[in-house]
Amino acid sequence: MSARLANISLGRTSLGRIPHVGSLGIILALLILGQLVNPSFLSPMNLWAVLSVSALLAVASAGQTLVIISGNQGIDLSVGSVMTLTALIVSGMAGSSDAAVPMALAVVLGLGTLIGLANGIGARFLGLYPLVVTLGGSFVVEGLGLVYARSRPPQMPGPMIENIGIGRFLGIPWLVLIGAVVTVAMTLLLRKSRYGRQLYLVGSNIRAASAAGIPVTRVLLTTWAASGFLAAFAGVLLYGYVASANLSVGAPYTMMSIAAAVIGGTALSGGAGSFVGTVLGAVIFSLITNLLIMLGLGPALRYAISGLVLILVLFATSRDAR
């Protein structure tokens, strides 16, 4: 464990010691393959499209990364349903005007944090597996979404949300810019803050961390609350990306967020991982989808191939994480 941490922080020069060399190699290979398949693969249009999807997935996986690093079987299966709920609420509250967007944001980010906190309390104090707590939690959140959608049906977004989804600033899509800001913030949080250092220790050995005087409960509850908050934020971005909300709009992101984190080298056993890794995992995920669409393969073959490629990618990126 400590050797691996040293590896990441020191960044030795030999090839094997370059951080994320596996992910970067796969991305390079996918880019070359894509360009061979179709000369417009590397066009700015396609790359921005891929990066926009990647940014959305990366933000959706941010909380998941924290929870998985926190170890102790940490996994958050409520990411997708929280994203759905926030998309529905922002859509319902803000409607087609911008005036109510700040209020809607405050409500959904607060609600997301509370849901995360509730998950954390279930996992920490009730002695339940996070898998079970968050699965149950996700049903509750789904039910809330259903009730809300019935009482206040979704509408089309106003200019601000619209802009998040398709607008650009200085030629760069807003989604990509937001993704970049989240990446910097998450990396600072994990690498430079006291919380970040404590999180890795709690994740690798909770007893040792506790014995060393680390406020384990506070670290874990903060992590879960952050996961809910970040999933809620990702739900807002998703709403911008698709411009309409329905009861299953966030559902695919639960599994994709776990996949992106794990492809990015976050150890399911906890205590190791980085957000840059997750971002690269999200990029790999989006590149594979994009490449297979460009190849024009039938759906059955696409599913099978993307599954196989993911297993290969995991083999290359996260085998040492066991």
Binding site: F41, M45, N46, A49, V50, A149, P153, Q155, I166, S248
Partner: protein, 375 residues
């Protein structure tokens, strides 16, 4: 030995019933439940989107009406949120409550067939709404998905002048309605050899997936794409992919949900069409079940072959009620009394006062059901 006895018994039972109803149809063997009022169970296999919410609302409204009229004593509506297994256990619970008829929208065919067979064996009349089942002893009440994508494809072929390259975004491969629609599309395209299908990808009836897929198709084929054929729900995602890429939009097929109709209204350059696939089919199926239980005779001329197994003649196809174009074009070959060609403004007026997520709908009245499908 035992089986033979059982079969003989069943045969005698069928004979007895058919003598009583004079309709020798395998799916009507459980039609006779006395004088009523009757108890119906409605099992909906999925409740994740606005279409399904409207589907169930329609059933509940019709249930209230038929209860008030004294035709039905109770309608128990259950929605599965956990796929086939959830639906199976809910149907078990419905059977335990002693229903006369089961109206079911199955989440998928194969896993639900054994429990549906059990319902039939226990004497319950089974009417399958929306997604059909390949069984001869149920009555399927389905929407005409051949019309849904057949008309959409015809429109697109015409919109691009009968020749060019198109791409398609399907719903979910393997899903009954999706595969049925794909067959209809391919039949139309076979008649137009100058229209080339560059790629057909799945968007899972999910806007995010559809936008991602369209972005990929745009990168791969760029402005070679002369038209886009899309199933419902995903259309706004596709339009967003075009806007984000800054590529000018070719004709594309649209959605029949109010938010899309409004978007269309506000975008004079959008060339699109909407074929309505009404959620009201659930209500229609409940009315048909109630009518059968009440002793009315089905008009067998209205039955068509089962879309999944053409050797069974046990399906009522509900036509797609509206085809929407910006200006109503009633000279289109698909327009008829049952498939009305209406304008965008008329479509929006039909949804006046409804929420943006509501679909263009059509539900038959009990009288219409009686005239259209019964003698």
């Amino acid at each position: 030995m035992k089986l033979t006895a059982l079969l003989a018994g069943a045969g005698m039972f069928v004979c007895a019933v058919s003598a009583a109803t004079a309709q020798d149809l395998p799916f009507l063997k459980n039609a006779d439940h006395g004088k009523g009022p009757f108890k119906i169970g409605f099992s909906n296999g999925f409740i994740g989107n606005a279409w399904r919410a409207q589907h169930v609302d329609g059933v509940e409204k019709t249930a209230a009406e038929l209860k008030a009229a004294g035709v039905l004593s109770d309608v128990i509506v259950v929605n599965s949120t956990s796929g086939a297994s959830g639906q199976i256990s809910q149907i078990n619970a419905l059977l335990a409550q002693g229903i006369d008829a089961l109206v079911i929208n199955p989440v998928s065919a194969e896993p639900l067939m054994p429990i549906v067979q059990r319902a039939i064996d226990s004497g319950v009349l089974v009417v399958v709404a929306d997604n059909p089942l390949p069984m001869d002893n149920v009555l399927n009440v389905s929407l005409d998905h051949s019309q849904y994508w057949g008309i959409s494809t015809e429109w697109l072929v015409d919109a691009i002048g009968g020749k060019g390259d198109i791409v398609a975004i399907e719903g979910l491969a393997g899903n009954t309605a999706n595969d049925w629609r794909v067959r209809a599309r391919d039949e139309v395209l076979a008649r137009h050899p100058d229209v080339r299908l560059l790629a057909s990808v799945t968007g899972g009836w999910d806007q995010a997936q559809a936008r991602e897929a369209m972005s990929g198709l745009l990168a791969a084929h760029g402005d070679k794409i002369d038209g886009v054929l899309i199933q419902e729900v995903m259309n706004e995602g596709v339009i967003r992919a075009y806007r984000a890429a800054g590529v000018s939009r070719p004709p594309l097929t649209g959605d029949y949900v109010l938010s899309y109709l409004k978007l269309w209204k506000n975008d004079p350059d959008l060339r699109t069409v909407a074929v309505a696939n009404p959620p009201g089919v659930g209500s229609d199926a409940v009315r048909i079940a109630a009518e059968i239980l009440s002793g009315s005779k089905l008009d067998t001329d209205k039955l068509v072959p089962n879309p999944l197994n053409p050797s069974f003649n046990n399906t009522i196809l509900i036509p797609e009620p509206y085809v929407v174009e910006r200006e109503a074009n009633t000279s289109r070959p698909w327009c008829s009394e049952q498939v009305q060609c209406i304008s965008l403004d008329e479509a929006i007026a039909l949804l006046d006062g409804r929420s943006d997520a509501d679909s263009l709908d059509k539900t038959l009245t009990q009288d219409e059901v009686r005239t259209l499908y019964f003698r």
